[in-house]
């Protein structure tokens, strides 16, 4: 069932004269994973708190299932349809099991059922052997798993995650991200996920919202946001300009062939066939040569023929948009442009090394 | 939860109930203000139950320093006072704060000191002159130094001796009679003490009596009733009942025999009905 489960309209929050959050309209679709990214201080956490009905905006309204939120008596019932996970695990001083069951206990779920549901999610997040342990003895990763299990056990209508992995080391972060991904696929929970890490957003988000200085600058699919940032500020934050969604077509000897529709790209890696991925190539890594130059012997494995569609000067560099069945952006020096006598329409070959491709694994199901 | 509340109520009742029952039986409580040495002698532990049994009153004995005992009575915070500081008592009566002063009993003070007697006062008849010799010899002397009846008496004797007690030899303990005796014992010093306390501490304090039986060493106890105008809720009837009790023949007899079984001699001499001149005080 599609449709907006949560809508925010005309919301403003100010602190000390400064507008911390200003959202004209934001609708979260049922069942989607919405990733909100932005730099620190961009208002992401404030937005998440308002979504979770933890803070009331000075102006504007929040609608749940199309109905305006009653900030008075009915607030607790509405608020209990959400569950949040924060950067710190913030567990209570008791066992893991009791912690995971806490959300259910608070809602009056009978003890037996609470234990059962908690047990299910404790297993899903791989902390079954820790169930009887005291929360304060857990490591950072184990504690955050507990926090996640706690939120999932509630089976909320909307799950809110505020930079849940920022405080973890990269290896733990990777493990948890994978487990979260799996869990989300299993449940089709509507999820709003705040992060400052673009890769996390790309991996998990069905849609990505970019927040800068309290405003939602762009809200669209990852490809659009990263491939066609709505403005220079967004582009500057988003950084990556070449995003190629595709599927693993074949894997041999550590090299994968990714079917990106119009293109086939070779990348190193170990992923199974059929997996959905997004390939990222930084414009600086794309080398442009005139098509007439013939095939040169170099280490790059990916050569794509196309035409120059756009040339934009950015200081001492030039942004070159090449149409090769898929738009590809390269960043080269002005000097090179002159040297290669590039202009709109010039036939060129865009090359990039397989190793320059950054693969984002989107999981098995499309 | 409910069980906890029941337990709590049962617990609190006796401690808090004591106050409320007193409020309802208002006129049945008599507050007696007296001195610590009177209380410590143990006499009141015998007399008060006697009074309570026969009169039906309940007595709260507040034993503090003489000054505080009289001050409390002057504020109406007591109903009757039993103290032993004649000059102060007369002052309070003259001020109208207390009335119906009646003598009850006396005990006496003795001057004790180290057996070696460095000041050479043993057997002297006049205590003031003995003190003069102590000061002259700069022999160690321990004083109560706490404005108690004993202390006031001691100061009067120094004045009579024409000596201002000052110096390293003059030690002010600022404490009760018992503590002071212990200190005197430790320091092998002279000190002035009431006979009752001396007898009670005989085992512990090995300082013999050196001077006694001087008229100036008499410690006269009197009972005074508190003027009801001193404050609200003064139990004048109860105060009078206690004062009457203290001078009644039965009580006087009890006073006479107090201490005999324990110390072999009576600690107090009952003198109800007599005047100060008659006993030489």
């Amino acid at each position: 069932m599609t449709g907006a489960i949560l809508e925010i309209g005309g919301v403003t929050v100010a602190h000390g004269g400064r507008a911390v959050l200003q959202i004209d309209r934001l609708a979260v679709r049922r069942g989607e994973i919405l990733a909100i990214i932005g730099p620190n201080g961009s208002g992401k956490s404030t937005l998440l708190r308002i979504m979770g009905l933890l803070d009331r905006p000075a102006r504007g309204e929040v609608r749940l299932d199309g109905r305006a939120i009653d900030w008075g008596r009915g607030l607790l019932t509405s608020r209990r349809r959400f569950a949040s996970v924060f950067q710190e695990p913030l567990l209570a001083d008791t066992t893991v099991e009791r912690n995971v069951a806490l959300g259910l206990t608070l809602r009056g779920v009978p003890a037996g059922e609470a234990r059962r549901r908690a047990g299910h999610w404790i297993a899903r997040f791989g902390i079954a052997p820790l169930a009887g342990r005291q929360a304060r003895t857990l490591s950072g990763g184990e504690a955050q798993r507990t926090s996640l299990a706690r939120a999932f056990a509630i089976e909320p209508d909307v799950l809110l995650l505020d930079e849940p992995f920022s405080a973890l080391d990269p290896a733990t972060r990777e493990d948890l991200l994978r487990d979260l991904q799996r869990a989300l696929r299993e449940t089709t929970l509507t999820t709003v996920f705040v992060t400052h890490d673009r890769n996390e957003a790309l991996r998990l988000g069905d849609r990505v919202g970019v927040m800068l200085e309290g405003r939602l600058e762009q809200l669209d699919t990852p490809e659009v946001v990263f491939g066609h940032p709505a403005g220079p500020d967004v582009a500057r934050f988003v950084g990556v300009e070449n995003l190629l969604p595709g599927r693993i077509a074949s894997a041999e000897g550590g090299l994968l062939t990714v079917d990106c529709g119009a293109l086939h790209v070779l990348v190193p890696g170990e992923l199974s066939i059929g997996r959905s991925v997004i390939l990222c190539v930084r414009p600086e890594d794309v080398v442009i040569r005139p098509a007439s130059a013939g095939s040169m012997r170099d280490s790059a494995l990916n050569h794509l023929r196309g035409q120059v569609a756009e040339l934009i000067s950015i200081g001492p560099q030039v942004r070159v948009l090449v149409e090769c069945g898929q738009p590809l952006v390269a960043l080269i020096t002005r000097h090179s442009v002159v040297e290669l006598a590039l202009k709109v329409g010039s036939p060129v070959t865009a090359s990039f090394k397989a190793s320059a491709v950054h693969v984002i694994d989107r999981g098995s199901a499309g | 939860m409910r069980r906890t509340l029941y337990l709590l109520a049962a617990f609190l009742a006796p401690t808090l109930g004591a106050g409320s029952s007193a409020a309802s039986a208002q006129s049945k409580v008599v507050i007696l203000s007296t001195t610590t040495s009177t209380q410590d002698s143990g006499l009141l532990d015998v007399l008060v139950p006697m009074f309570e049994r026969t009169s039906g009153y309940s007595v709260k004995t507040v034993s503090v320093g003489t000054g505080q005992a009289l001050a409390l009575a002057a504020r109406g915070e007591a109903d009757v006072a039993l103290v032993h500081a004649s000059s102060l008592e007369k002052q309070y009566v003259a001020d109208g704060k207390m009335h119906n002063r009646r003598l009850v009993m006396y005990n006496d003070f003795v001057l004790i000191g180290p057996a070696e007697d460095p000041a050479g006062i043993k057997g002297m008849a006049k205590v003031a002159e003995a003190l003069k010799k102590v000061a002259g010899a700069r022999a160690r002397f321990v004083s109560r130094g706490d404005k108690s009846g004993t202390h006031v008496l001691e100061l009067g004797l120094w004045k009579l001796a024409g000596v201002e007690p000052k110096g390293a030899w003059y030690i002010e303990s600022g404490q009760g009679m018992g503590q002071t005796l212990v200190i005197a014992n430790e320091r092998a010093a002279y000190t002035l003490t009431d006979r009752a306390t001396f007898l009670a501490f005989q085992q512990r304090v090995k300082l013999p009596i050196l001077v006694e039986k001087d008229r100036l060493l008499l410690n006269v106890y009197s009972v005074m009733e508190v003027n009801p105008a001193n404050g609200p809720r003064v139990n004048a009837a109860g105060g009078k009942a206690f004062a009457d009790f203290m001078v009644s023949p039965a009580t006087q007899a009890a006073i006479k025999s107090f201490g005999v079984s324990m110390y072999g001699q009576a600690l107090f001499v009952p003198i109800a009905g007599k005047t100060e001149e008659e006993i030489g005080g």
């Binding site: - | 106050g19 410590d40 004995t61 009679m177």
Partner: protein
Amino acid sequence: MELIWDGIRQAFLLLLGMDREVLAITWLSFQIAATSTGLALAVGIPLGTLIALTRFPARALVVSLINTGMGLPPVVVGLFVSIFLWRGGPLGFFELLYTPAAIVIAQFVIAAPIVTGLTLAAVQQIPPMFRLQMVAIGASRGQLLWLLLREARLPMLAAVMAGFGGVISEIGASMMVGGNIRGQTRVLTTATVMETTKGSFDVAIALSVILLAMTFLVNYLLTALQQRRRPS
């Protein structure tokens, strides 16, 4: 030295021999201290929690007052409470002076700031985000309060011990408002001082031993409860 051994021996004899007066004094001391501590908990825990969780003008002043109150000399408290309870005082009507109730009142005044101050500190040290997290998983206001108190239970047990310890061992207030009246308001501390001034050192030591033993027992039970939560 033998004085102390004498005293300990005397203590056992008094207790085991069921000396009625000593047992009565001991029980009264415990009753009074437990009651005043209980009242202090009933007032101090909610008050301390409230102050810890809310912002209001002059909050710093209130907290300073509480912290000052934690160090009130018992004898000063005794003096002021007795002035209130005097016949001539505003509460004289209730005739509470020289009753156990008066001691409970005075000891409550001593213990309440201790309990309030320590509860305040205990609740304040819970990370503020914890509150938000509990609300974010569905806690109502009442449930949140319960969760916070549960988080702070270890330092709060310390508050209970501190409150009880402070009042069971004080003598200044007990003396002033209780009067050490035999059979009515004589408690272990006032009896100890009295026996000392009378020179009955062995009895005084015996009473001290009993007092220490009782305090130790109570603290042991509470500590066992508190430390039960520690990881082994």
